[in-house]
Symmetry: C2
Subunit: 294 residues, 2 copies
């Protein structure tokens, strides 16, 4: 079951609506233009994980799109309203995904803003182990590594509702003997998954571990789960680093993961059909750390 709460001028802290009934006009620019932004948060172990980081990223995405947004306090209130109603039905403390959507709304009117709380299936929430990990394909994102920087109208780094390419990339992967994709720039830099960030770990000859993620300057999303994983890694005594990373770096790593808010850390087991190792000890530290820390 799901609970939907709309933030409206009359109800800035949210009003519950029935998500099984139509709630959007056919002229809403979320539906006609993919013109808006979103965030997906996880409620687990009694709290909303990385709430402030997600609200900050939502605000940053909205700024990139020049989209006026309700204050964070209103989003927090609407999330609490929706979670409260969800837990009345699903049981106290039940794990949930929380999607915040901000649409430009109907032309000439103010935006459309809503919170949708839904049950999380166990398979989605459980991190994959190295043995049941992901087969990924590397897909060219078309952009070179400098495009995001020189062309702000490309909205790189903003989490927009225009996800048709992301969805097409995942369909492409799934129709080519893979589970998911990792985007690379046209000049060979590793970027991100269609709905995830990329992490790699390296263990040196002396046993020192370094956790790396691609650099934000390429226009990737600032991953909230990636940031949490960096905190886990720092606490475990690992070193941290940012790209540039190349496909060769992925193949030579001691572990590659796709991380996202609901799925957490999923180990990558093959890239373009080539098996890649995932050190079980590194995987355990990362997954258990994320589970405890978030």
């Amino acid at each position: 079951m799901s609970v939907a709460v709309f933030l409206t001028p009359q109800h800035p802290d949210g009003v519950e609506v029935d998500p099984t009934r139509p709630q959007l006009l056919v002229t809403d620019q979320s539906a006609t233009r993919g013109d808006g932004v979103f965030e997906t948060l996880l409620y687990r172990h009694g709290r909303i994980r990385e709430e402030e980081a997600h609200l900050r990223r939502l605000a940053g995405s909205a700024t990139a799109l020049d989209l006026p947004l309700p204050e964070a306090s209103h989003w927090r209130a609407a999330m609490q309203l929706a979670l409260g109603r969800f837990h009345e039905s699903a049981g106290e403390g039940a794990e949930a995904s929380i999607r915040l959507t901000a649409s430009r709304g109907v032309p000439g009117e103010s935006g459309t803003f809503w919170v949708l709380v839904s049950a999380v299936s166990r398979s989605a929430a459980t991190a994959h182990g190295p043995s049941d990990g992901l087969r990924v394909v590397l897909l060219d994102r078309g952009y070179d590594a400098a495009a995001a920087d020189r062309a702000p109208w490309l909205l790189a780094g903003a989490k927009t509702l225009s996800y048709a390419i992301n969805m097409a990339a995942q369909r492409w992967a799934q129709s080519h003997d893979a589970d998911d994709a990792i985007f690379v720039t046209s000049d060979g830099r590793v970027l991100e998954g269609p709905t995830s960030s990329v992490l790699i770990a390296r263990r040196s000859a002396t046993g020192e571990v370094t956790l790396l993620t691609p650099e934000l300057e390429t226009g990737i999303l600032a991953g909230t789960t990636q940031a949490a994983a960096f905190e886990v890694a720092a606490a475990a005594g690992w070193k941290l680093g940012y790209g540039p990373l190349t496909p060769a770096d992925l193949l030579a790593a001691d572990g590659v993961w796709l991380v996202s808010s609901v799925r957490l850390a999923a180990a990558v087991t093959s890239i373009d059909g080539v098996s890649v190792p995932c050190d079980p000890e590194l995987h355990r530290v990362l997954v258990e750390g994320l589970d405890a820390a978030l």
Copy 2:
């Protein structure tokens, strides 16, 4: 006023709904992912212009997205139903825009398909003259000219609902002393406008006129109005050609136009702040020809 008609399994030829009431679920993937395709057609002078070309392009876009689509006959019936109801209210023969939208729908269910018929404002329908034409900026689309060809998951050439970048480009133009934008590849090829195709005309020393448009291989949309303009040009004895075109070609042309279904042909009067000429005779042939032919 507007009329909305949904194509449903129960009503494959369409059923009218009230577009002033919500008709879409908050989980519809048009609104959550920009996952779908669309077309905008013009009804003018008693008929739907370029109906078959638009239906073919809709089908092509849907194929690129692996999105099952109602048969063209159902779209035609739904358009007739919507137009009939529109003309009952707006007056027989009233000019209208017709938007066909095909969404992937709610996860796990079939797609959502609808027709929206709306009045066209005179200013939108009237082609701009050379004197009241468009100031445009050239904006880097981030892709090189070969990206569309090597990366089909980028959905180049498909008219998807994921238009956030197109809208951002137009906002960028309007906040930088311009009216619209023309996208160029990262390697300097002219592509298209965010919601239009680009045409240029050259007049030789001997008076011979050539009408050109960028080549489809760069991943631009196959323009239905561009195709109609080519027919007009051929009838006028002009030669026809396809790119590659560069920004220098735009600046050296005897006319540059942005063409689209509802706006028809709008003359470009400046590019990045540099005035460009538009030969009034060429403009007249193109605009009058499109008006008569379409």
